[in-house]
Amino acid sequence: MARRGGAPEVNAGSMADIAFLLLIFFLVTTTIETDAGLDRMLPPKEPPTDEQVILKQKNIFTVQIGKDGQLLVEEDLLDLKDLREKAIAFLDNGGAVKGDPDYCSYCEGARSPESSDNPIKAVISLKNDRETKYSVYITVQNELVAAYNFLRNRAAKKLGYNMSFTEMEEAYSNQETPDDVKEKLKVKIKKIQDLYPQKLSEAETTTN
């Protein structure tokens, strides 16, 4: 006959395991998701309009997105896949002749006199229709940023930095990077940005 000395004690040894399981579940599922995306600066509303900025036609790279997603680059239809290459060719052209104050010593482009003088002068003008799909617009923006990043990464390599430009930017915006490292990165980033400034205009540009 079984003994009836009260209920046997429940073994609570595995309680810790169960609690750990829950804990790990919460830890894993509630990772604070960091959003990511394309950073852009909008043009200020009222720039000092005393003098009109006049740009040479050859220093402007026009990109127009039609309402059905067609792309008009420099007045020609272009496939989106070729946009990056075309933008790189334009930015890196370095058309100014040697001795000119605009001469670009670090450009590796075709140096065609028909295209941009210097990456510092080169402006990409982006226009779109109200009916344009947002996804197409983002793809175009992405390709143009990719063109700049390509050139900036190349510049970083040429300057002998052990990180690419995009890596440096990432490290700079990372909160865990120590301040002294950030200071050094800031100088390097600034230097590359000066070589290839991102001039992506969405406002009207005047030509002469």
Binding site: T30, G37, D39, Y134, S135, N142, E170
Partner: protein, 160 residues
Amino acid sequence: MSKFKKKKDGELPPVSTASLPDIVFMLLFFFMTVTVMKDSEPLVANELPNASEIKKLEKKDRVVYIFVGQPTEKYQSAFGKEPKIQLNDKFANVSEVGDYVLEEIAKKPQEVQSSITTALKIDKNANMGIVMDIKEELRKVNALKVNYTTYEGDAFKNLQ
């Protein structure tokens, strides 16, 4: 013979693990209460486009969110199928965007107010018209730093 019996070597008294569950539960409750799941219920469809050249929005306390997209099925009868703007947890007109952003910026601590980014979470099926209107509004209130929030991926997937 000796009164004090010598204990056998290496026989340490086992550490009691009875309080371990309590400690772990404490941690568990801490995490459960601290993690906020979501601050607002999405009223609009929000399938973001893909992009590859993205940058992370590291500082969450310096971000103001604006959602744009087609109203979810629940709200389609009332608001139609055209993409709408969602600010916090209600629908808004384009004209309200500026005030909302200023309000949100004013809520942030003083030292970060000058470096606020506006994260535009726009559904990939939206038209540029509404985006251009929002950008115009943001320019009016001088909130010039924007981030087109996207998923990480091949940008050409957007075109399909």
